[in-house]
Symmetry: C3
Amino acid sequence: MTLYPMKRVTVVCEAYARAPVTELVTSVGAHGWTVFAVEGSGHQGSRPGDIPEFANIQFEVIVPAAVAETLLARLQAELFPNFAMVAYESDIRVLRRDKF
Amino acid sequence: MTLYPMKRVTVVCEAYARAPVTELVTSVGAHGWTVFAVEGSGHQGSRPGDIPEFANIQFEVIVPAAVAETLLARLQAELFPNFAMVAYESDIRVLRRDKF
Amino acid sequence: MTLYPMKRVTVVCEAYARAPVTELVTSVGAHGWTVFAVEGSGHQGSRPGDIPEFANIQFEVIVPAAVAETLLARLQAELFPNFAMVAYESDIRVLRRDKF
């Protein structure tokens, strides 16, 4: 059995950001991702990117490191200015590299 | 693009522990967290902290390392004796440190 | 407070694989796991293991490293040939080792 090092990028955002996030995830070449509804709370500050305490969605995207970097950079540049959103990455090891 | 090392603390617990966990998460200063319903199974032993095989909730809390340590220590000291609960941390790298 | 290094094995699969995955998770000796519904997208190729863009479920299983290895190897050998499925592991640190 071989495990391949990959990144998992998690994006928590307001539900109405679903379409642009999905479009971006697809456009960077991500093949495997899940999305599910969560309740959430973010910083209650004055910036437009803050997340209120109600329905949000959470994306989990499995990608190679280089794609994770592109995805995070584009999230920050293209979607953070307009949507309440949090994004982070972590290290994972996957079975079957060819799926991602 | 800069990513900041943080911790993600995951807490799986019975639904009726929602209020005390939320209160503790807030009191340690965590700003960003999500919660969602899960089905779960824990060790079927005789200890009061064991998790039965039905509705639970899962918290995911993004915090700096020092806050993660405080949160886990207080979960263990204050809530583990009275609620069915599992807690663990993992390493993540987030965009926009100022949100947490 | 002591944290114990463990693995979290995540399995994303079609809902109809729920019973065999649960059976396998149990048979390798895992005590703590959650499962929840997700929407997902996998590689749209021609292999039988690909995940279509609709209802899936996501398992998260907390196990020692040796059990994670067994679980992943058996998922690959026994379930990957017959079900649309993605599996990966990551490092976590848990409170209360005796629960897993």
